[in-house]
Symmetry: C2
């Protein structure tokens, strides 16, 4: 069994391949463009010039023997579709295909892609979410109703945690406090907050929103 | 003051604009391509056909009066550089520019972009990180040494939390337990874990890695 096969060494495919390889994983990359292969060949286990829609070439490569196949071809939906269908019918267990639009994402899912990613769109949504909630440095969704967020206190939460009574007043639990470069994990009740501190809280999304409005 | 100006209504720019507008924000989009503007004009506050490198047109638009300017132009680095320089010199406080490569990211930062994003590359890195640690559903970095992660117990952590003694054995605190669709936040010591549960823990990265190896 081999680990990762990446078809298409563009910006997205190369980033996936190099990040995996740097962490010590077995990574094979194919691309039909010679320059793309020569750029990446020293940074992955094996790189080869190959057309991802060439059924005979893919079979020879053993596309069905990889744990994960990532199809990172952009400009031609037809090539992505053919490569997805060939990989799945050769027995590849987990195929992830890149799509350019909502419609092509639907098509790739319907022909067998196990996962579909829209890099530009997904990053655009993520940037917008970060712009909307700047006081929330980063958030981590736990299911659809709860989150963990890191939030700036803006000097409005000073004093000992037990006196601030955040669980009673807002329904959130403080799980860590970021004071400059020092992080206090699972702070005790008598831990003191100062201006400029950032708290990491867990709670229901509407409770976090109430706290955020208070701190805005 | 206006809120958001987005130059370039491609996949990335449109996703940023529509996500912001859907959450009720004031969003202006410009693009030099008529079709791009007609696609997006019903989904933002205002859309106009305009060349982002046209200094007179940008001044008339009032580019300096927006809280955030997002330059989402892809194929021409020259256009992104000129638009970044024009926006910053007109007084825009926060300019985010999209880049195609590490080199163009450096150039855009050096001419004044406050933030630079490489959507395809950044998503590629993120996908690789998720593939490497599949048992970690998602992770949230708190500074460089600590994280919050959601991890599958794979039936290896069954019984009451106080008997499992995770803080002593692994140096991690359980802040929530995901049992199917039910999330238990800040579980008590006598809370019982079953096969198939997912735990959300906070701790130092090397401690989380130890737990992950045990659960792999
Ligand atoms: N049929 C194919 N077989 C193999 N490689 C292909 C095929 N079609 C395209 N590619 C390669 O896939 C890579 C990415 O494709 P392309 O540049 O069209 O998409 P993109 O969406 O701009 O990529 P990215 O956003 O990742 O840079 C290119 O290096 C291209 O040579
Ligand atoms: N000088 C310019 N002024 C205004 N709009 C521009 C300019 N140059 C390009 N654009 C627009 O920016 C949008 C995105 O640019 P382009 O398609 O070149 O990049 P891209 O990286 O493929 O975009 P994305 O990945 O977001 O789809 C296009 O709609 C294009 O018309």
């Amino acid at each position: 069994m081999r680990e990762y096969l990446i078809m298409g060494a563009g910006r997205f495919g190369s980033a996936v391949a190099e990040t995996l390889y740097d962490k010590g994983h077995d990574v094979v990359v194919v691309d039909m463009n010679e320059d793309a292969i020569s750029r990446i060949m020293n940074r992955v286990t094996h790189a080869a010039i190959l057309d991802a829609t060439d059924e005979v070439a893919l079979k020879k490569l053993g596309v069905g023997n990889f744990d994960h196949v990532i199809i990172a071809i952009g400009s031609s939906l037809e090539a992505s579709i053919l490569a997805t269908v060939l990989a799945k019918s050769a027995g590849a267990k987990h195929v992830i295909s890149k799509a350019n639009s909502q419609l092509s994402a639907k098509v790739l899912a319907s022909v067998g892609a196990d996962e579909v990613i829209r890099p530009e769109h997904d990053m655009g949504v993520r940037l917008a979410q970060q712009l909307i909630a700047p006081s929330i440095m980063d958030s981590f969704h736990l299911g659809s109703h709860h989150s963990v967020v890191e939030i700036e206190t803006k000097g409005k939460l000073c004093g000992r945690l037990e006196d601030l009574r955040l669980p009673n007043r807002y329904g959130v639990q403080v799980i860590a406090v970021n004071q400059g470069n020092k992080l206090e994990v699972s702070p005790s009740a008598d831990f003191e907050l100062f201006e400029g501190d950032r708290v990491v809280v867990i709670g229901a999304n509407e409770n976090i929103e109430k706290l955020r409005m208070f701190l805005a």
